[in-house]
Symmetry: C2
Subunit: 467 residues, 2 copies
C-alpha cells in the first residue's frame, strides 16, 4: 500500500469513527478471526477495518464516506460462503450487519416477515415457526449464516425443489447503494408491476451492487409431515421418470430428490453406524426421496403406495421406506457423509447445474474423461436432481501433484457444451471468477459490467468479486 492511500484509509477510518462511534469501527486485533475468511478457509486476511453499523442509516452513512474517498467495502454476512465472496483484502473495509439483527414484523394476514439483514437464518426460521409458518429457505449453515448473505448470494439449500431459491422468498428489499442512497422497496405484495423490479438485481449479486439491509420474506404454511424413502434404480432414465411421475402426483409436496451414484453411495454407507447398505445388492443409482406434506394432511401412505407401484412396474429395483424418524435419519446419514469430506480427503468440489435430462450423460462422460486423464482419481457424484444441481467431488489426494485449478478447468470445459452453469448455488465470489466465461457470454458479461458501472461508478463495493 502506498503512503498516500494509507493516509486516505486512516482519514476514512477516522470519519467512520466520527459517524458510527468507536464501538462500531474495529481495527487490528479487535477484528475477530471470523471476519478473515469464509468456510473455504481461503487466504485469511485481516481487513483494514470492520464496520458494525446498527441501522440502515448507519450503513448509508458508512457507504457515503467510503464512496467519497473511493474506499473499497466488502459486505460480510455469517462468513459461511463457499466461493470467497466475502473475503476482504488488507486495504479493504469489511462491513458486517451482525449488530443489525432481528425480526421487525410478522404479518400473518400477508404471510410475510420483515427481517434485518444480520439475522441468522435459524433465528428467522424460529420466528416464522413460532407464528405458525415456515420459511422457504433452509441450509446447513442456518445457525451462522445471515439473511443478508443468503439473499446476496441467492442461497439454495434444502428446500429449492419445493419453494425455490432465496430469490423466490423475497417480496421486498431495502438496499444501500454505493453512494449511500437507501433504495427501499419494502413491499409485501405478490403483484407489483410499477417499473423495474430493482430488488432482483441485488439478490444474487454477491454484494457488488449494494448492501442489503432488510427484506420482506414470504411465509409458507408449515410442512411437518415428512416421509422418507431410499430407492435403487437401473439408471438415469428411470430417475427422471420417477421424478416426473412423483411431481405429477404430489406437486411440490416432494421435498427432496437426492441422487447418489454408486461411488458416493458406497462412501456414505461405509461411514454409517453399521457400515452396511440397506440393500442386499448393489445398484447403478440411488435416490433419496422425501415427501414433505402440509401439517394438516398426512399423505405418507399415498407416497409409499406410489413407490410400491413403481417397484411393481419395474421402474424401481428396490426400495426402503422409513417407518420412523430414526429410520429416516439413518437413510439421510448416507447422503450427509459430505460433512466428512474435508476430514477424509482433499476435496475439489463442484457445484454445477445443467438441464435435468442431460445430467446422467454428463456424469458418464465426465467420469470417463477423469479416468482417462487421471486414472488414479477417486471422484464422487451426487446431486439435487430436481433442482438441476449436480455435485462432483474429486479427491485431490488421489491425484497427487495435480493443481485444483487444473481439475476445475478440466471439468468446466466439459460442462460448457451441455449448457451448464459453473455455479448452481454457491456463487462466483473470488474463487470461480476465472470460470465465469464458461457459463456466461461476452454480451452477458458486458451487460453486467454496464450495470455495475451504473450503480457503483467508483467500484467500491466488493471489488474483484463476481465480475
Amino acid at each position: 500500500m502506498s503512503g498516500a492511500s494509507s493516509k486516505t484509509l486512516e482519514r476514512v477510518i477516522a470519519a467512520l469513527r466520527g459517524a458510527l462511534g468507536d464501538e462500531a469501527v474495529r481495527t487490528g486485533q479487535a477484528i475477530p478471526e471470523q471476519a478473515m475468511t469464509d468456510w473455504t478457509g481461503h487466504a485469511p486476511m485481516r481487513p483494514a477495518a470492520l464496520l458494525l453499523p446498527c441501522s440502515t442509516d448507519e450503513v448509508a452513512r458508512s457507504l457515503a464516506i467510503c464512496n467519497e474517498a473511493g474506499q473499497p467495502v466488502v459486505p460480510q454476512g455469517g462468513m459461511t460462503g463457499l466461493a470467497g465472496g466475502a473475503i476482504a483484502r488488507a486495504d479493504d473495509i469489511a462491513l458486517s450487519l451482525a449488530r443489525f439483527a432481528g425480526i421487525d414484523e410478522i404479518d400473518p394476514a400477508s404471510a410475510t416477515m420483515i427481517v434485518r439483514a444480520g439475522t441468522t437464518l435459524q433465528a428467522a426460521q424460529d420466528a416464522a415457526s413460532a407464528a405458525g409458518f415456515e420459511l422457504g429457505l433452509d441450509l446447513g449453515a442456518r445457525g451462522s449464516c445471515q439473511i443478508g448473505g443468503n439473499l446476496a448470494t441467492n442461497a439454495g439449500g434444502n428446500r429449492v425443489i419445493q419453494s425455490g431459491t432465496a430469490r423466490d422468498q423475497v417480496l421486498g428489499l431495502e438496499v444501500v447503494l454505493a453512494s449511500g442512497a437507501v433504495l427501499s422497496s419494502m413491499t409485501k405484495m405478490t403483484k407489483n408491476n410499477t417499473g423495474y423490479d430493482l430488488k432482483q438485481l441485488f439478490i444474487g449479486s454477491e454484494g457488488t451492487l449494494g448492501i442489503i439491509t432488510r427484506a420482506v420474506l414470504r411465509l409458507n404454511p408449515p410442512r411437518g409431515r415428512r416421509h422418507t424413502a431410499l430407492v435403487a434404480v437401473d439408471g438415469y432414465d428411470a430417475v427422471v421418470k420417477l421424478l416426473r411421475s412423483l411431481s405429477a402426483r404430489f406437486g411440490n409436496d416432494i421435498g427432496a430428490f437426492e441422487i447418489m451414484w454408486p461411488d458416493f453411495f458406497d462412501f456414505g454407507v461405509a461411514l454409517t453406524a453399521h457400515a452396511r447398505s440397506p440393500f442386499p445388492a448393489a445398484h447403478p443409482l440411488y435416490a433419496l426421496i422425501e415427501h414433505a406434506g402440509l401439517d394438516t394432511l398426512d399423505e405418507g401412505e399415498a407416497f409409499f403406495a406410489v413407490l410400491a407401484e413403481a417397484l411393481d412396474a419395474g421402474l424401481v429395483r428396490d426400495a426402503v421406506l422409513a417407518q420412523s424418524v430414526a429410520d429416516a435419519r439413518a437413510l439421510w446419514a448416507v447422503r450427509e457423509c459430505t460433512a466428512e469430506f474435508p476430514a477424509r480427503m482433499d476435496p475439489v468440489n463442484f457445484d454445477v447445474s445443467l438441464p435435468i435430462g442431460l445430467i446422467g450423460e454428463f456424469v458418464d462422460v465426465c467420469r470417463a474423461a477423469l479416468d482417462k486423464r487421471w486414472p488414479s482419481n477417486r471422484s464422487y457424484f451426487f446431486g439435487h436432481i430436481g433442482d438441476s444441481n449436480l455435485h462432483v467431488t474429486v479427491d485431490g489426494h488421489s491425484i497427487p501433484g495435480v493443481a485444483h485449478d487444473d481439475v476445475y478447468a478440466f471439468v468446466y470445459e466439459m460442462l460448457a457444451p451441455y449448457g451448464g452453469s459453473v455455479s448452481a448455488e454457491h456463487g462466483i465470489g473470488l474463487l470461480k471468477r476465472a470460470y465465469l466465461p464458461f457459463s456466461r457470454s461476452p454480451e452477458e458479461l458486458a451487460a453486467m459490467r454496464a450495470i455495475k458501472a451504473a450503480l457503483d461508478p467508483k467500484g467500491i463495493l466488493n471489488p474483484g468479486k463476481v465480475i
Copy 2:
C-alpha cells in the same frame, strides 16, 4: 416533425428494407389497425413503420440500424395491454414478433419449453398441454396476447395464487439490447448463480430495456381437477382467516380466491341468466374459491368438507358448492361480469395492490372518501385477494363532468400510505406514468433511470413509457 428528422426516418426505413426485405417493413396503409392502439383504445396512431422480423438475428439487425440513427422503436406484442405501453407515436417505428412464433422445443425431462416471443399464450398453453404439462400462466387475452408481451409486462392473470406471475415461469431468456447485441441467457436450470440474473431486468420492464425474443419457460404438472365454491362471510377479517386456513390445508392447490364486495356482487348477479343471487339473503362479502388439484388426485371432497367445517364454525355464513361444471360456470359468471363493464358504464379501472391484511380497511376508507367527494358515484370493489390485488372500478357516468385523471389521482393518493402499488399487474406503460411516484421513491426512480441509461444510452427503446 422537422424535414431533417423526416429524412433520417426515410433513410432508416430504407436501411431496414435492405436488411429485412420489403415484406418485413410495412408503412402507411400496409400497417394493420391492430398496431395502432391496445385494448384501452387510447389515442390510436399509425407508426412510421411496422417491422416484422422473423428471427432474433433480424431483430438484432433492426435495432442496430435504429440505434445508430437514434430512431425510437416501440416493441409490440398482441396489443392486449391495458396501460398503453405498446402504443407508438407517429415518428416511432413499431416492431412486432408476430412472424417469429412457435415452440422451439419441449424438454419433458427438464419440464421446460423454449418459446419464441411472437407465440400466442394460447398456442404455448396448447403445446404444453399436448406434452402432458401445464403452463403456469393464463389470462383472458390468451388467444391474442403473445409470450413476449406477457414477459415484458410480467403479466399476472388467473394462476398467480398458484404459480406466481409471468416472471416466475421464466428460467431463461434471450433479449436483444438497443445496440443490437443479443443477450442470450437461455438456461433451463432452476439453480444458476453465475453473476447477475440479467433476465429479471427485462421481465416487467415493458420493452424499455431490450426486446425479448425467446424464453425458456417452466412446465408444471397439469391441474385439471377443479372444484368451485361461492361463500358468503361477515367481513374482511373472516376472508383473511379463510384464506390462511385453506392455504395451510391445501397449499397451492387453491387455484382462485376472488373476493367481491356487495355492489360488485349485485351488479354481477343482475347480469346472470336468472338474475338471482345463489344465496337467499344478502351478505357483507363474498368469496369465489377454487380448488385446482393435480390431475392424479381428486381432493374435491376434502375441499368441500373444509368449507362445511368453516360453515359449522361460523367463519362462513353461507356456501354454495358447485356439483357440476355447469354449476361452477354459473358461479364464475357473477365474477366475470367485468367483461360487461365497457358496455354498461364508463369504467375508470384501478388495478392496485396492497398488503393483504389492509385491503378490507382500504376498501372502506376508499368507498367513504369517494362517497364524500362524489356522492353520486357508483363504484365496484373486487379482487384476487390471495395475490394482494384489488380492483376498483368507478363508473364515470355516475360522476358526469369529472375527469378520469382526477379519479385516479384521488384514489392513488389514498393508496400511498398503505404501502400500496398503483399497478398490480397491468403495468405502467403510458397511462400510469404520472402516478408512478405514488408507488416508487425518488431513489428507486433514479436507480431505474441509471439502469435505463446503462442499457439503452440513446433511449431508443419504447421512449416515454414507464420512466
